[in-house]
Symmetry: C2
Subunit: 178 residues, 2 copies
């Protein structure tokens, strides 16, 4: 893991990306790292693309604004088109299968996987797409420890949805392992 990792989670409102960012930041805290999680509201947010940002670092984080991301998640085409260029050349980009990828984009790796379909069909609830996405991000980047991520997820969901979310996370891991 690099000294400071900047993760941008993008999609549309209602896909639970703020919660996903909070969970990722809390997993980082559990493993002893520092994190800042933020989201902006404004003209940008009105354009149909929603984003949530997390910075994870072994050291103090003084300046919480994410510029170029190390990790970009995009769950919608609109979000991908809007944020794809705000990535480092070393970035790992994870997108939902529904997205048409820009082949000219200079990043380390783009991973296209059926996040939303997996949430809807394999897990049974499209609302856990955010948790499937977190599982995939963990497995693809190891930005946080798997056990701490699971703990952070379970800390943030009501008791009756714990099994559902645990399954969502596992299916997210599997999307990368397979």
């Amino acid at each position: 893991m690099m000294a400071q990792n900047e993760i941008r989670l993008t999609g549309s409102g209602g896909q639970g990306l703020i919660l996903a960012g909070i969970i990722l930041a809390e997993a980082a805290l559990l493993q002893g790292d520092n994190a800042v999680q933020s989201q902006s509201y404004g003209p940008e947010a009105r354009g149909g693309a929603s984003k949530s940002e997390v910075i994870i670092s072994k050291d103090d984080i003084d300046f919480p604004k994410v510029d170029k991301a190390d990790i970009l998640l995009s769950l919608t085409q609109i979000a991908y088109d809007k944020y794809k260029n705000s990535t480092k050349e070393s970035a790992i980009v994870i997108v939902d299968s529904s997205i048409k990828i820009d082949e000219t984009l200079k990043v380390k790796r783009t991973i296209k996987i059926p996040i939303i379909e997996t949430a809807s069909n394999k897990v049974g609830k499209s609302i856990v797409s955010n948790i499937v996405a977190l599982g995939a991000i963990q497995e693809a980047t190891h930005i946080v420890d798997q056990d701490f991520l699971e703990k952070a997820v379970l800390n943030r969901v009501p008791a009756k949805f714990k099994d559902l979310n645990r399954k969502a996370l596992t299916e997210g891991f599997n999307l990368i392992k397979e």
Copy 2:
């Protein structure tokens, strides 16, 4: 309202201050302002005091780090003691009745009101202390429009808890009006 307002919501983990920050930022968006909401996780967060920050502005917000707050909410003594000095001399400070105030602190106004007791006894659930607090912040500072705040609260709570949260907000307004 000033050009840019920085609001720091402090207390202990589990008091719903991240959600309160998100709701406040969404209310700002509804009224056409820009907002950035963030929270930090790290050694500071391990000390028993939790904080959530919101910047609300008519203009673009470039630098989302809150330094000295215009508005400080503290729901616990530990949080108050930790963050009381990070306030502007023009700040409005709102604290729960359980808190012993530092009379030497240079701020515009400190308002001490029974936020947690109101949530527990008048509304019936201590878990809505965060929403009671938002009502009080609105009425004391007019940082966001009352209707947009209510809309933002109701957008973020499950259907069966809407009445509870509407009541919590109203009791928060009343704490200042009375």
